[in-house]
Symmetry: C2
Subunit: 235 residues, 2 copies
DNA sequence: TAGATTGTTAATCGATTAACAATC
DNA sequence: TAGATTGTTAATCGATTAACAATC
């Protein structure tokens, strides 16, 4: 595997080496989401502009993404939803491991064990871990083990992906234990920049920053409206 | 205000019109996070490369971002942490409204009312709303009101920002009520693409997609390693 | 056929990075 | 001064969009 900054060059379309971006993969996930919903509603075919509108991207972008992964439709006939879902599943590795552990069963962590959105996408949280013995109970049918057992669990069950929802103070330390046990990818909710080896995938979800971002744009627009009122600019 | 696709052109540096990207704003939030931590640890000055390393961006990027917003340091002397925090606060509109409501006090929503990360950034969830009467209680000192009261509440308290954690089925409908009442920005946890007027800011957090993303990259790397073992490529 | 849609190439656009002059 | 660091300009890089040929 050749890796450069953000782009991962992987082998997909029958041996051809190609590169895809993180945002492209995110869009594939979104397409699948929408396609599954449409399938449930009884739809069979879809055009690139329908799918684009439903997912908030342009029709060209949709076709470009599909073309990048060798997904083809029928000129004039659009795409078969079943076929799209199948192809995207293959690309995203849906048939392969989906086992995920949760580390940190506090406020946010325990909500994640009950989160319906994971089940809906067939993501299984197989076990949870927490340092607090009071939390070592079953939550939504998932056993919360003592944190000291996490290393052996990851080793023995060959878990590759972890959701990290521990306090910031211990996030780095815990991530190192996880990685040493064999974890390859982390969804990190702690608002810290984890220092990890290059081969490890980290996806950060920082809820405060996401919200601050909304607040910023709302404020920026209001400031601007106020200013335009007193000092209008001619277009 | 001039708006084009993703870029918002706003008036910041003493009347100069300039544009900044969403990712740039996200980085500013991260810088502030880190700077606050460093301040607590007693640091007073910082260089662009320190800050870059702590937040996972290059030193050039840090300086470029600062330059874009008219934040200047001292050649050779780096930046004063207090000054940076103050300037970033001003840019991100920290002194202005921070009032946020939460709509949907289910599994994820009620976890968000207790989320320490918001408090730490001085974000106040002032009220919550839920359709289920059983949930109309106080959670972490925040009253959960009946959903039917949300319109009047937003109107009367001039709330501008909402966190939306309702089931996907009703997300669009609820967002329309919020917008009609005066909400300008939404942090949306429902895995649907909200259709909103252009003047409304929506930030989507889709936890399943974030996790699927990690799973994809882990799988892609493992597939690749396997292949390289049987069919090594010369560099 | 005419019209509509895919698939791809080329153009554009924006964000990041490299290079380096300024200067403390 | 010499060395280090900022601030900015130019170059690069990648992602998105526009244009359009292919074709059903």
């Amino acid at each position: 595997m050749i890796e450069t900054g953000k782009v991962l060059i992987v082998n997909v379309k029958g041996g051809t080496i190609m590169s895809e971006s993180k945002s492209c993969i995110l869009r594939l996930c979104r397409y699948r989401r929408t396609l599954k919903d449409l399938k449930e509603l009884g739809y069979v075919k879809i055009f690139s502009d329908n799918l684009g509108e439903a997912t908030g991207v342009t029709a060209t972008q949709v076709r470009k993404d599909f073309s990048l992964f060798g997904i083809s439709g029928n000129k004039k006939g659009g795409y078969l939803i079943d076929n799209l879902i199948e192809k995207i599943n293959y690309i995203l590795g849906k048939d392969e491991i989906q086992k995920v552990i949760l580390v940190g069963a506090g406020n946010l962590g325990s909500a994640l064990t009950r989160y319906k959105g994971f089940e809906k996408e067939d993501i299984n949280i197989v076990a949870a871990f927490d340092a607090d013995p009071a939390k070592n109970v079953k939550v939504n049918n998932i056993q919360v083990h003592p944190i000291k057992d996490v290393f052996d669990y990851v080793r023995n069950h060959k878990v590759r992906v972890a959701v990290l929802a521990v306090p910031s103070m211990v996030a780095q330390e815990v991530s190192e234990i996880l990685i040493s046990a064999g974890i390859r990818g982390i969804l990190n909710f702690a608002p810290v920049t984890l220092k990890v080896p290059e081969r490890i995938i980290v996806n950060n979800v920082n809820l405060a920053i996401e919200l601050e971002n909304v607040i910023y744009y709302v404020n920026a627009r209001e400031r601007n409206e106020k200013q335009n009122k007193t000092n209008p600019v001619q277009s």
